[in-house]
């Protein structure tokens, strides 16, 4: 408890990651699934920054910048797809799109 260790940081990151993972599995709403994926990406970035701080190197922070970029692009495309699904099926249920009817 006296000093922050890398192990503590990694445990926090893995708890956040598994919470997001659980969110992807238990929710049926596409919007919530997208938010849970964001949680998972954020937890991965957290682990990178902790590891970078352990070795006192900037590489971990650079990985977080790339993760942020990727998350932004992913959210834009994911939300656009979600709007299309909602316009077509009038619901956000992920089971509604299980059949690919084109």
């Amino acid at each position: 408890m006296s000093e922050i260790s890398l192990n503590t940081g990694l445990i926090i990151a893995s708890i956040l990651f598994f919470t997001g993972f659980l969110g992807v599995m238990i929710r049926r709403n596409i919007l919530f699934m997208l938010i849970s994926v964001e949680i998972m990406l954020n937890a991965a970035g957290l682990a990178f920054v902790f590891a970078g701080a352990r070795w006192h190197a900037p590489d971990g922070q650079i990985m977080l910048i790339f993760i942020l970029t990727m998350a932004a692009a992913e959210v834009a495309v994911g939300l656009a797809l979600m709007i299309q699904v909602y316009q077509k099926f009038k619901t956000l249920d992920s089971d509604a799109v299980s059949n690919m009817r084109g």
């Binding site: 000093e3 192990n7 893995s14 919470t19 599995m25 929710r27 959210v75 495309v77 939300l79």
Partner: protein, 177 residues
């Protein structure tokens, strides 16, 4: 500083659990913003102030606002909350929760069993990060630019409303009515 770190970690974990279990989308987003702010505090304490600023600006600022705009466009309302409560039945989530908790326990055990390595606690200045970003990781920056361009084009193409096109031979004068 250590106490602040643990408080921030606790807030991040609790608000993330609340995000996953909320029925109302807007409430979940507010808790998500709290979780991201707590993460930014952790970054700051661990010695990455630039990342803390980016986390607030890009994640809590830009991405969450994008979510809010889409929720406003969809206009789900109270009907969506009821449906969401119906979908979150206990029989649906208890088994995935159990399995992922076992996986989490395994990961935590592996981390605890490995030797303790203290964090350096020294700040990595933004100057160093920027220098490394534009020398060692220059290719990554260019690839990120391409990815963002693809994201913009893809989002524009997908979110566009499709026009209902009828061939001109099929369009008679009274067809609109």
């Amino acid at each position: 500083m250590t106490v602040f770190f643990y408080i921030a970690a606790l807030i991040a974990i609790l608000s993330t659990v609340l995000v996953v279990t909320r029925a109302n989308v807007v409430h979940a987003l507010i808790y998500m913003v709290i979780s991201l702010l707590a993460t930014a505090v952790m970054f700051f304490i661990v010695g990455a102030p630039f990342m803390a600023a980016l986390e607030i600006m890009i994640y809590a600022g830009a991405i969450m606002v994008l979510f809010v705009f889409v929720i406003m466009m969809l206009n789900l309302g109270a009907k969506g909350v009821e449906q969401e409560k119906e979908w979150l039945s206990a029989s649906g989530w208890i088994i995935p929760a159990l399995f992922s908790f076992v996986l989490l326990a395994e990961v935590v055990y592996l981390i605890v069993a490995s030797p303790v390595s203290p964090l350096a606690g020294k700040m990595v200045p933004p100057k160093e990060v920027g220098y490394s970003l534009f020398t060692t990781y220059l290719l990554g920056v260019e690839l990120a630019a391409v990815l963002l361009l693809a994201g913009i084009v893809g989002a524009y193409h997908l979110a566009r409303k499709k026009k209902h096109v009828v061939h001109r031979f099929l369009q008679s004068k009274g067809a609109d009515e």
